[in-house]
């Protein structure tokens, strides 16, 4: 078991090292999420009171769009130079490849989100300091949910012609429960409501995370057998 996990972390570490060294994906995802926030701002009256009501939605649209941009590249590196063959030949279960990729994507996306969060607070004049701990829980749970299915579909889409066009078509409808839960709980947290008002959303996120983590973990090996 320890041996298995060590290998899994090796794959995750490899992915993270590539991304943090090339910085290509970090910049584009960062800029992209900032741009979404800025562009959405133009849809509303400047300084309007209701901006506080729509802000959570904008935050999550920015996160989800940036994350799906990152996911579409997740397996592209493995496809070039036939790295996938190498991974498949390594003495590791197929599910281990999924797990490694999942951890890599998760940490990477989380990092991007945490860097964008202060910008979000500045652009929308929100003070997030008091609500940060519960907000972090929501961000972690929702991002994990997004990445579980995202990693699976990312592996699927590199195997298809025009896959990067298809990935969002697969991913966005799948993420409706995550998006609704994340937006609603973020709104309640930012309004200063107590835990009991949004605990049902957290439960839903946990349920989504568990169901799709297990399902993707089991199914992944069928995707890459060639």
């Amino acid at each position: 078991m320890g041996y298995y996990l060590k290998k899994v972390f090796l794959i995750a570490a490899k992915d993270l090292r590539i991304e943090f060294r090339s910085k290509e994906k970090i910049y584009s995802m960062m800029l992209f999420s900032l741009l979404v926030m800025v562009i959405f701002n133009f849809a509303f009256e400047p300084g309007a009171e209701y901006i506080k009501d729509v802000a959570p939605g904008i935050l999550w649209v920015a996160f989800i769009f940036a994350a799906s941009l990152g996911l579409s590249r997740s397996f592209v590196l493995e496809k070039e130079e036939d790295c996938m063959q190498g991974l498949m030949l390594s003495p590791l279960d197929r599910s281990g490849i999924y797990l490694g990729k999942l951890i890599g994507n998760f940490i990477f996306t989380l990092a991007i989100e945490l860097i964008s969060l202060p910008f979000f607070a500045i652009f929308f004049n929100l003070s997030l300091t008091s609500s940060l701990p519960p907000l972090m829980i929501v961000i972690v749970l929702a991002t994990f949910g997004f990445i579980t299915v995202g990693t699976l579909f990312s592996a699927l889409s590199v195997g298809i012609r025009g896959g990067d066009m298809i990935l969002p078509l697969l991913l966005f409808p799948m993420q409706v429960p995550v998006i609704i839960s994340a937006v609603k709980s973020t709104g309640l947290i930012m309004a200063g409501s107590g835990m009991d008002t949004y605990s049902q959303w957290l439960k839903l996120l946990v349920a989504f995370d568990i169901i799709f983590f297990v399902a993707s973990f089991v199914i992944f090996e069928y995707l890459i057998e060639e």
Partner: protein, 228 residues
């Protein structure tokens, strides 16, 4: 035997559909509040039920394909998904036609509406993926993965949109939740649902045959190409 059933089924369903039409348009009383537009309900509900059923068939076909790797399960999955999308589109068309005069809006973000819309989107993506892959076993494998994941998402989507609505103020409500149907209306629904379900079975069997024929054509083509 199997062929015989396939030939007989349409002749069983035809009178059933005619009976259903009679029940819906003549036998069932006109709704005192909604008027004649309420009659759309019988077919709307039946198609919704069968649309959902077909995605369940797709789910079963997908799981069985990954376990057994037999072409027949993939044929079941794709046939069910295709019919499911068609039926869902009927649901999403008849719904707004009814909703406009009754609710005063073409569309509301009611949990059932959201779930059906998302369902249709997911299976549309499923068909897009199928069309993008040429290699047969790979297509079946990838499609099966999506079929399983998409179906698992249905209850969560429903739950999420349900919670979302109950927290939001309800602007428009459909007749207070429970319908309280007239017995004659219930009777009409009891005929319409089997009629439409049988229609689904007929279409499914035909569609599966068609897929089998396509395989046969592809096989023959290959054979001829080899000989030439």
């Amino acid at each position: 035997m199997k062929e015989k059933i396939k030939t007989i089924l349409p002749y069983v369903d035809l009178p059933l559909i005619i009976l259903a039409l009679y029940m819906v348009f003549i036998y069932a009383p006109t709704d005192s509040y909604m008027g004649d537009i309420q009659r759309i309900f019988y077919f709307h509900v039946s198609f919704a039920w069968v649309g959902f059923l077909s995605f369940f068939f797709n789910f079963i076909g997908s799981i069985m394909y990954l376990i057994k790797k037999e072409r027949c399960w993939d044929i079941l999955a794709v046939s069910a998904a295709e019919i499911g999308i068609a039926f869902c589109l009927i649901v999403l068309t008849t719904g707004p036609i009814w909703a406009r005069p009754v609710w005063g809006a073409w569309w509301t973000w009611d949990p059932r509406l959201v779930t059906f819309l998302i369902l249709t989107f997911m299976y549309a993506a499923y068909m897009t993926v199928r069309n993008a892959i040429e290699e047969e076993t790979k297509r079946a494998r990838f499609a099966a993965v999506i079929g399983i994941i998409a179906f698992l998402n249905v209850p969560l989507t429903y739950l999420a949109s349900h919670l979302w609505r109950t927290i939001h103020p309800d602007v428009i409500r459909p007749g207070g939740g429970k319908w309280g149907l007239d017995p004659a209306m219930t009777a009409a629904l009891r005929i319409t649902i089997p009629a439409v379900t049988l229609l689904f079975v007929i279409l499914l069997l035909r569609r599966m045959d068609l897929e089998g024929m396509r395989d046969r054509v592809a096989e023959l083509k290959k054979k001829i190409m080899k000989e030439a």
